[in-house]
């Protein structure tokens, strides 16, 4: 066989990326691009409840969006929530990952148990924490009250200053193990040599972590933050179940607002506008993040 004979089919059929990517592209175009354009279409229309059809409204939805105090409030709540959760989950996740990354007996089991939190549907997690944080019967409330950290007059989920934290607890509980899983994997992949020489040089644990572990883990952390950040920004289940966005609007997130507009009030146009706004915000944030942290795919 001559080389040219081998080459031809390689180039023609197998080495072009298209056949490999085709199924993905088809499925993404149908199921991701179409909804995107449909939402753009929707954002210039509104569902007329009496006529049961979409009527064009021009830029009304967009004008309404930027002048809607509820939206800006939801936007800031979402940002705050995403920020706090990300920081806690990254820091806590890293700490637990360092703690649990060991081959001593029992640690494999511990890692397995930790993944349990991930298999519980977020809607059920919300119910669990709703029960545990109940102002009268909840075990978390009871514990905090017994410790004198909480008074009867401040039910966690009904006090504006505490409610968001009540929701954050649920999110942190469920998703910190996700970070731990990824970080443990990252830690285990680090080459041994630099650490050994650092030890010989007598570096402290903190120095090792700060100068070696953290920089080498940069990429892993970046991916984890990106994926979690996207999901956090879209978070909906916990507030829907636990607080209905309350008290008042103190835990009202963009996703919840979009959901309510779309499904409860049948304002599909405005709901789509809200969703697109959220999408653009994430897109910009993710692009910035990728640029700043120089993530290359």
């Amino acid at each position: 066989m001559t080389r040219s004979l081998i080459r031809a089919p390689r180039f023609m059929i197998a080495d072009h990326p298209l056949p490999w990517l085709l199924p993905l592209i088809v499925i993404l175009v149908v199921f991701a691009l179409y909804p995107f354009f449909y939402n753009i279409f929707l954002s210039f229309h509104e569902f007329a409840p009496r006529k049961r059809e979409l009527v064009p409204v021009g830029f009304d939805n967009w004008v309404q969006l930027f002048g809607d105090p509820r939206m800006w409030n939801a936007f800031s709540v979402t940002l705050l929530y995403t920020g706090i959760c990300l920081v806690i989950q990254v820091v806590l996740g890293m700490a637990i990952a360092l703690l649990i990354d060991s081959d001593d007996p029992g640690f494999g089991f511990l890692r397995g148990v930790l993944t349990l939190t991930l298999v519980i549907p977020p809607a059920i997690t919300g119910m669990m924490f709703l029960l545990m944080q109940d102002a009268q019967f909840g075990i978390i409330t009871w514990t905090l009250q017994s410790l004198g950290l909480l008074t009867q007059a401040t039910p966690i989920l009904a006090t504006p200053s505490l409610a968001l934290w009540g929701v954050i607890v649920a999110d942190v509980w469920q998703w910190t193990p996700f970070m731990v899983l990824i970080f443990v994997a990252g830690l285990r992949s680090l080459p041994r040599d630099p650490f050994e020489s650092a030890m010989i040089d007598g570096a402290s644990s903190w120095q090792v972590f700060r100068r070696l572990t953290l920089p080498m883990m940069g990429k892993v952390i970046a991916i984890a933050v990106l994926i979690r950040g996207i999901d956090l920004f879209r978070m909906f289940d916990y507030v829907f179940v636990m607080t209905s966005g309350g008290p008042g609007t103190s835990t009202y997130t963009l996703s919840l607002y979009a959901w309510e507009q779309t499904f409860s009030f049948i304002k599909w146009g405005y709901g789509a506008t809200l969703s697109l706004f959220a999408l653009f915000v994430i897109l910009i944030a993710a692009n910035l993040f990728v640029a700043v942290f120089k993530v290359r795919w």
Binding site: D15, L24, F31, L99, G108, S255
Partner: protein, 291 residues
Amino acid sequence: MLLSPGQRILRAVAAWAVVMLFAFPIYYWVTVSIKLDREIFSIPPKVFSFETSAKSYEEVFGISLGFEQGLSVLPGGGDFYMTPRLWDSIVIAVCSTALAIVIATLAAYALSRMRFRGQHHFVFWILSTRMMPPVAVAIPMFFIYRDFGLLDTYHGVILIHALMNMPLAVLLLKSFFDDIPKEIDEAALIDGASRFLVFRKLVLPMAMGGIAATAVLCFIFSWTEFLFVLTLTQTGLKTVPVVSSTFVTSTGTAWGNMAALGTAAILPAFIFILLVQKNLVRGLTLGSVKQ
């Protein structure tokens, strides 16, 4: 790092304490499922000793454990809903995971091995499909599904779950493939093997760990997904998260039943994770070396 025995013990104690703290809500949830209804709300909360009852499980799964309750009306309408729904969940999670993995593996291999213009943007575009709030995808999906007759069908839900997991799967798998030296492929290609043969016989087996890890995450996201199943199904099938919401009734929440279903739903997923747990850690390890 070398630790003294004392430090090792300290570390073990700390690790157990942290993990138990995380496991506690699950333990508490399990106790709710076996508590007599009125015990769920006692003050102070009962953690270790309480009156037990298998009623919640009997009701949710329509089985008898010897405490037959007779003709009472159950929230959610009783056993019609539950055991088959667990099965629905398993079918959907397993199939959508398989579909996502097949498509994503092909794509990730190409993205890892072949270069083309705008590749960076293409990958970012894939990631961006995860950024749309689910609410915004649900309505257009409903109309597509209506036109294609996919509403209330297994393959419809499987498709949407596979799609939802695609960005995550492609990104993770690509990083796993990146770790496998390209020289292996090239040597084989020069020997006359086709790309597909190289992919199937050489690269795929080496990436098995990474694929398993990705599969676990896909499985978890499908297992816990709520909104798409809610919107795109009617009476034909339902998964656990959607069905558990039927316990929120007009006369209050059936906490025991909800906890029983939730507890039972942990098991299949946990078994799946255990089966691939060794691969999970090793797989992710492989994946994250790349720089």
